[in-house]
Subunit: 477 residues, 4 copies
C-alpha cells in the first residue's frame, strides 16, 4: 500500500495541428495512479513550446484555462510524478525544457539512474550548474554533450545511453521530432500505439492509449530508440538484446492498472494468476475470499476461482477522500475510525475470511485491516499476499524504504502473522511470482525479493548531497 | 447512473467542547456520494455559531484552515447537497442559519416537500421574504411561526409537522439542543449512534457513524422527533405510526453506500439479493457476470452466486477523473474514448457476458458500455437491471427527469434492448424489488415504478416560479 | 485615518442589453475608497438576475471570468462595503436579493437606521426570520410588507419611508425598474447622471459617473424617490423638504474622493477651503506645509495658498501595500518601520513644518507621523486638523469608536499636542467646518462635533443581539 | 509612463536566526515600483535554502502562509522583476538557485549584459544547458566556472567580472555569505545599510532600507564586491575606478521612489530641480501648474516654485485599480472613460495649465491626458517634460521600445505638440538633465538621449534566439 512507482510518461505526435494538450491531459489522467505529486505538459506548436507544470493531481492542477493556454500543437509530452517530498517535487516537476547549443528539447522520464551521482559530479567538474535534483537533468546533460558532435539528437541519445546506468523510460520532444527511449534492461514499461488518423501515441501503459482512442501497436523494446516525425517512424536498435530483459515484476503486482497490457501480458490476468498461484501455494479452508481495494481485488477473484471458495465484497473504499493532509493525519487518530476503508459487516460476520493484498511493507496497514475484519465479526482471517517478502532495497525507482522499516527483514513469518493479527499468513514464492505471466514472461527483475540485481549498485544511495538544503515552498518558477 | 439523491445530513452533540468540525468533515466525506454540488458545516460553541458553506465536494471545498477557523464546539451539523444547477446551488447550500424572535437555529435537510409552493405563497402573503429556493427555508418559516407560541423548539417542530407534506429528514441545531426529525412516511433514511464517550451522532447513513467511530444505535423512526442535549435524549412520537412507512427503495438499489445499514437492512445484502432475484427472473446462458462500477458490482456478485456463472472484473473505472467540466464535455467527443471506464479486454474477449447495472434512464450510457464490451471482443452481452423501469416522476427528492427523457416511457422492452445493443435485456420486477429486504422490509415507496404515490401530488412540479430568474455566479454571501 | 464610511452604491439602467456588469465594475472601483471589505454586483437580464458577492476589494474579488458569467443585462446594481468584522461581512455583503409575494428585488444601501432594532423585533414578532444583521434586510421587510397592498414597488417604498428612521441611500432593482432613494435628511450622498446613449447611472459619488462616461445631471434630493425604467424617469417627492438637509460634513473632509462633486459642492474645493480656514484660525510661522497622504493633501495646498508658506511633498505612501493581515499587524512591530509612509528627509530637514491631516481619532497614528518627521530632521512640527474634535458617537453609519477611545474626549488640546509630540496643534472650528462649502452649503450634520443630532437616538447602540453568535468563516452561500 | 526598469533586489544578513523572510517581504514591497511582473524570496537557514517565486506583485503573490513556510533564517535575498512578457516571466523569475561543484548559491540581479549572447553561446559550446533566458543564469555560469579554480566565491565573482559587459547589480547568497556586486560603470543603483542590532541590508534603493528600519550606510561603489558574513564585512575593489561612473539618469527622473537617496543624491530633490530647470528652459504664462501622478508631481512643484505659478492638484489617480487585464483593455474602450485618472474640473476650468510629466514615449497617453484637461475646461495646456526626447535604444535594462514606436524619432517638436493637442511643448535639454543632481552628480549615462553609449553595443539586440519558442502558461516548476 505504501510503495509507489516514480512516474508515468506520455507523448503524442500528429501530422497536423490538433488538441494535443487535451489528449495529453486524458493520457495523464489514465496514468495518474503512477504519480500524484506533480504533473506537467509541454506542447510543441510548429517549434514554439508551451509549458505547464505544477504540484498536485492532473484534475486539480490543470484547469480548462490551462489547456486552452497550452493551445493546439503537433506534438506534446506529459508527465505525472511521485515523490516523497512534496515541496522538493515542485523543483523536480517534469517535463524539463532545456536549451542547448543545437536547440531546445523537452524531456519526461520514468526511472532511476544508479550512476546519477557519478555523472553529476563529472559534469559539475566541467562547469555545469544544476537547477534540480532530478535524473532527467543529468540525462539532459549527457545527451546535449553528445549532441555537440553527434549528427542528430537521436544519435546523441544513442551515444549517451552508453553512459546511463539503471532504469529509464524517456520521451523527448524537439521542435521537429518525438523520441521514445527505453533502457536496455527494460525495467520500466513503455509502449506506443496509433490512432485511426495516424497520430502516434507513446505511454507508460496501454490504458493511456485507450484513453485517447489509440490502438496499442507494441511495446518499445528494451534498449530501443523510436523516432517519430510527421511522415515516418524510425527505430534504433543498437542497445537492444545485449542482455535479457529485467522488467519490474511489481508493475504487474501493484503499480500498473489492471486494464493495461505490458510487454504483451495483461496486468489483470497476471494478478488473477497470482491469486491462483497463492491458492495452490497457501490453501486454507474458508468461507469467503475478499481483496483489499483496489489492487487486491483481481488476485482475490483468482484465489476464489482456484480454491472454489466464494468471492465477496469485504470493504467499501471511500473514493471521495481527498489528498489533503487532513486525511492521512487523521487516519492515525484512533483505531475505530474507518474513514477510508469500511468493512461490510454482513459479508464477513461469523465467517472464515481469506484476505488478499498485494504486499506487506511495514505491517501497520495490514494490522488495521485485519482488526477491522475482526471487529466486523470475522471468525478467522487468513492473509495471502501476492508479492514475496521485500528484503532488499530497490535502486530502480521504486520507493521501498530502508530495511529497518521492512517488516519482512525484521521478523520471521509466524511473528509477522502474529503482529498483524492474522490466523495464517502466506506470501507467494519468488518462483510463483516469476510464473504469473505464464509463458509470455518478458524476464523479470526480482531484486527486491531475492537480491539478484541486474546492474551495479549506486555509488551512494544518498543522492541528496545538495537537495537536502533546498526546498521550494510553493509558487512558480 | 444519472439519477441522484438530493442530500446527506449529519449532526453531532457532545457533552463537552471537542473537534466537532473535524468529525462533521469526516461524516460528510462518508456521505459524499449523496451530493457533490455543495457542502457546509455549522459549529456551535456554547451558543456561538460558526458557519461555512461552499460549492463543491468536501475534500476540495473545506480546507484544514477552514476546519481550524470553525474551531471547537459542543455541537455541529453538516450537509452535502446534490442539485442539477451548479450556480443555483450556491444560494441553496446548507446548513441554513436563521434568526427568529426566540433565538437562532441552523438546519440541514434531505427531502422534498410536495406542498412547498402552497406554504411559500401563504407565508409570502403574510409578508415573508425569501432568500433561497430551498425547502429548508420554508420549513424554517413553518417552525419559527409555531415557535411564537410553542413552549419549546421541539414542540414548534411537532406542530409544524402537521403542515409539512412530503419527504424530509432534518437536523436542527439551536444554541442548546440538537434535534433530529424524520417525516412520518420515512422516505429518507436517518439514524443515530453513540461514541464510547457518550457523544451522539445523527446521519443519513450508518457509514457516516462508522467514519467517526460511533456505533449505530437505531434508525430514527418515521415521524419521530429526537432531541439531544448534553445530558439526555428525548423522543417525541406524536407523528409516528399513523401510516405504514414508505422508504425509498432506490436508496437500497443505488443511492446508499453498500456498507450502510438502513432501517435494519444491509444495503450490500439488498443488492446481492437483487442480483439473485434477477438471476431467477431473467436467467441466461453465459460465461461471465460483470457489474458496471460501482453500484452494479454487488448485484453482479449476487447474480453470479445464484446462477453459478463466474463473476469477473469487466471494467476499470478511473478514480482520478475530476469533476471539472473537461471530463463530461469530453465524454461526448468520440465513441472510442475510454476515459472514465475502460474494459479489460482479456476478461471478456470471446465470452458471453452478463452485464449488471442498477438502472437505465435515458439509455445513452448503457449503449456506450455495451459497445465498449463488444469492441473488447464480447460475443454476447446480456443486460440485467436491478431497478424496474422508471415510468413515473418522483416528487420526493429523486431527480428523475421528465417522462420524455425516460427510455422506458418511450419504448417497449425489445426496442430498448435493440437501442442499447444488448442481446437480451431483463429488468427486475416490481415484486422482485419489493423483496430485496427479505422479511425485514420496512415498507417501500415504489411510486416511480408503479405510480402508487403515498401522498398528494405537488400543486405544481414547477417550484421555480422565482428561482429561474436568479443565479449566483460564484463568490460569497 | 481610522474612520470609515460604511458603503458605496451604484446602479445603471439601459434601454437595451449591454455590458452593465463591466460598467458596474468600473463604478465600484471608483467608489472603492468607501468600503473595501466586501463587494457585489447584481445584473438584470430581462428579468433574470445574476448575482455575485464576495469579501475583498473589487479588483481582487471580481475576476474577468466573473464579469463574463454575470453577462449582459439592461440593468445592474453594485455595492462596496466597509465593516469592522471581516467574517460577519460575508453574511452582510450586498446587493441583497430577496423574493416576496409580488416578485423579486435586489437592494444596495449606504446608511444606518436608528430604529433598526425596533423594526426587526416587530417583524420577528410577526414571524419573520432574518438571515443577516444588515439594515438592508430590515428595509426589505418594510418595503415588501407595504407592497402587499401598495400598487407599485415605488409606492411601497414611499410608504415604508414613514417607518425608516436614520440614514439610507438606496438603489433597488426589480425585474423592470431601477429605483434610487435618499433619506429625507440626505445624510449620505447620492447622485445620478446620463451617458450619451441615454443610459442612466446612479452612484454615491460623481466620480463613479465619470468612470463610466456619464455626465452628472444632479443629486437625488433628500427624501426623493427616483424611478428609472427604459423609457422614462419619474420622481416621487412626498418626503422632500419636510426638514432642512443634514448632509454628513465628514463626506467632504474625509470620505469622498476629491474629484467628486456632491450636492453641488466640489470636494476638492471644500478641502482647499478647509485648509484656508485653518490658516486663518491657526496661523503659524513655518517653512513648509505638507499634507498627510492622501486626504490631507488638498487642505495642505489650501493652507499653503492662504498662508504664503510653500507647499511641499513630505511623505511617500507605498501604494503597493496589500490589505493582507501582514501589513497592519506589522505596522505595530517597531517605531522605526516605515512601510506605508516614508518621509522625504531632504524636504523637511531643518525646517519648521506645518502638517495638515483630516482628523485625529485615537492619536496613535498622528504620534507616529510626527515622530517620523522629527527623525527626518524637522525642527518644528505644527499639526493642523481639518475636522473639529470628535466628541460624540455617530448613529448614521460612520464608524466612530466609543468615547473611551476618542482622544478629544479624554484630554484637553494642549495635552493632545503633547501626546502626539507636536509643537502646536490647531483644529478647525465647528463654524469653520460649516463654512467650507461657502454659500452653496447644503446644510450639514455636525453631530459628532457638537452633539446636535437631527433624529432620535437609537434604542440601543448594540444591534448585535444575534449576530454576536454567528460568524461565517469563508466560503459561499 | 510605459518605460519600465527591469528589477529591484534586496538582501539581508543577520548574526542570528530571525524573521528575514518578513524583512525581505517588506523590502520588496518598498521596491515594488521597480517590477510588478514576478517576485521571489530565498531564505537561508544555516545553509538550508527555502525558495519561493511567483508571478505577480508581492502583496498578492506572497501570502502570510508563504512567509511562515519560508521560516526563519540568518540570510535572505529577494527580487521583483519587470518584463514585457508575462508568461516568459515565470521562467525568468528570481532568485535563481543553482548547485555547482563547490556548493549552492542563490542570485538576484538588476541589469542587462551586452555580451549575453556571446557568453551563452560560448558556454553552450562547452556543453552547458540553459533553463531560462535570463542574464542571471549566464552570470551564474561565469561565476561557477571560475569557482572551479578560485579559492572563494567572492574571488570567483571578481574573476568573472572580467567577462561580464553591461549593467548588473547583484546579490548572491551562499550557505555562509551574502555578496553584493555592482558593475564597474554603476548603471544600476545598489546601496547598503545597517539596523541597530547590526543586521546588514542591501537594496536597490534606500527606501527599502527605511522599510526595514535600517540606516543607509552608503552606496556600493561601481565595480565593488561587498562580502557580508556574520562577523564581518569585506570589500573587494579591483574593478573600482577604472572608468567614470555612468549611472542611469532615468532612475532619478522616473524609476526610483522620491524618498530614496541614490549615489548621495535625493531623488525628490533631483526631480524638484528638473522642474526648476524646465521652468527656466521653457517658461510660459499660466495660472496653475499640475503634475501627472505620480512621477510628475515632484517636478510640478519644482516648476511652480521656480516660476511663481501656483501649484495645484489636477488629477485624482484611482489607487484601487488592479493589475488584471480588465483595466488596461478597458482603458482603450472609449475616450470618455476616466477610470484610472480623473481630472478635478474645478481646479483647471477656465485656466491656463502647465502640465508636467516625466516622459513622452509613444504620445498616446499624453494625448489622452491633454484631452481630459480640455474636457474639464482648461483654456490652455502647456506640456513640460522632465526627460529629453528618447531617440536611442537602451542596452542596459530599460525597456525603451524600438525607434519605430518612439514619437520623438518620428516627428519634430511642433508636430508632437500638435499630435498630443498641447498649446506648447517643452522637453528638458540633455544639459539640463545632466544638471539635476547639482554638484553631487555621480556621472550619468544619457545614451538614450544622446547616443553616447559607455560600452560596446550588444552583438544582437535579439537575445531571444531560443526563448521565442518557449512560454510557460502558469503553474510551478
Amino acid at each position: 500500500m505504501s510503495i509507489h512507482e516514480e512516474c508515468g510518461i506520455f507523448g503524442i505526435c500528429r501530422g497536423t495541428l490538433g488538441d494535443v494538450a487535451l489528449d495529453t491531459y486524458f493520457g495523464l489522467q489514465a496514468l495518474q495512479h503512477r504519480g500524484q505529486e506533480s504533473c506537467g505538459i509541454a506542447v510543441n506548436h510548429d517549434g514554439l513550446f508551451h509549458l505547464f507544470t505544477d504540484a498536485g493531481v492532473v484534475s486539480e492542477a490543470i484547469s480548462p484555462g490551462t489547456i486552452s493556454m497550452l493551445g493546439q500543437g503537433n506534438m506534446a509530452i506529459g508527465h505525472v510524478r511521485y515523490g516523497s517530498d512534496h515541496e522538493r517535487g515542485r523543483i523536480n516537476a517534469q517535463p524539463l525544457v532545456v536549451d542547448h547549443f543545437k536547440g531546445r528539447m523537452a524531456l519526461a522520464n520514468n526511472g532511476s539512474l544508479v550512476n546519477y551521482l557519478e555523472l553529476r559530479t563529472q559534469y559539475e567538474k566541467q562547469g555545469s550548474i544544476f537547477h534540480t535534483t532530478s535524473d532527467v537533468e543529468v540525462i539532459s546533460c549527457a545527451i546535449t554533450r553528445e549532441r555537440l558532435t553527434a549528427p542528430s539528437l537521436e544519435e546523441a541519445v544513442n551515444r549517451a545511453m552508453h553512459r546511463l546506468k539503471g532504469s529509464y523510460s524517456l520521451v523527448i520532444m524537439t521542435p521537429k521530432k518525438l523520441i521514445a527511449v527505453r533502457d536496455p534492461l527494460g525495467f520500466k514499461p513503455l509502449c506506443y500505439g496509433q490512432c485511426l488518423d495516424g497520430t502516434y501515441v507513446v505511454a507508460s501503459e496501454s490504458c493511456a492509449l485507450d484513453a485517447v482512442g489509440a490502438r496499442l501497436v507494441r511495446d518499445i523494446r528494451p534498449g530501443e530508440i523510436l523516432v517519430f516525425d510527421r511522415e515516418e517512424m524510425r527505430s534504433l536498435l543498437d542497445h537492444c538484446g545485449s542482455a535479457p530483459a529485467k522488467v519490474c515484476v511489481f508493475e504487474y503486482i501493484y503499480f500498473a492498472r489492471p486494464d493495461s497490457v505490458m510487454d504483451k501480458v495483461s496486468v489483470h490476468h497476471a494478478r488473477l494468476k497470482a491469486g491462483e498461484v497463492l491458492a495452490k501455494e497457501h490453501p486454507v479452508e474458508a468461507d469467503i475470499v475478499i481483496g483489499v481495494p483496489d489492487s487486491g481485488i483481481d488476485a482475490a477473484i483468482g484465489y476464489a476461482r482456484a480454491s472454489g471458495i466464494p468471492y465477496g465484497l469485504g470493504f467499501i473504499k471511500n473514493k471521495y477522500i481527498g489528498r489533503t493532509f487532513i486525511a492521512p493525519r487523521q487516519m492515525e487518530r484512533e483505531t475505530g475510525v474507518r474513514i477510508k476503508l469500511n468493512p461490510i459487516a454482513e459479508e464477513v460476520a461469523g465467517k472464515r475470511v481469506v484476505l488478499v493484498d498485494d504486499s506487506i511493507v511495514r505491517g501497520t496497514t495490514s494490522k488495521k485491516i485485519v482488526r477491522l475484519l475482526r471487529e466486523a465479526g470475522a471468525r478467522e482471517v487468513h492473509m495471502r499476499v501476492t508479492a514475496p517478502p521485500f528484503i532488499n532495497p530497490c535502486y530502480y525507482g521504486t520507493d521501498i524504504k530502508s530495511r529497518d522499516s521492512l517488516i519482512a527483514c525484521l521478523y520471521p513469518l509466524e511473528k509477522i502473522a502474529d503482529i498483524i493479527g492474522a490466523d495464517s499468513l502466506g506470501y507467494i514464492s519468488v518462483e510463483g511470482v516469476r510464473s504469473i505471466a505464464g509463458n509470455m514472461s518478458p524476464g523479470f527483475c526480482t531484486a527486491c525479493f531475492d537480491g539478484d540485481y541486474p546492474t551495479q549498485a549506486p555509488q551512494s544511495v544518498e543522492r541528496d548531497r545538495f537537495s537536502k538544503r533546498l526546498m521550494r515552498v510553493g509558487g512558480t518558477r
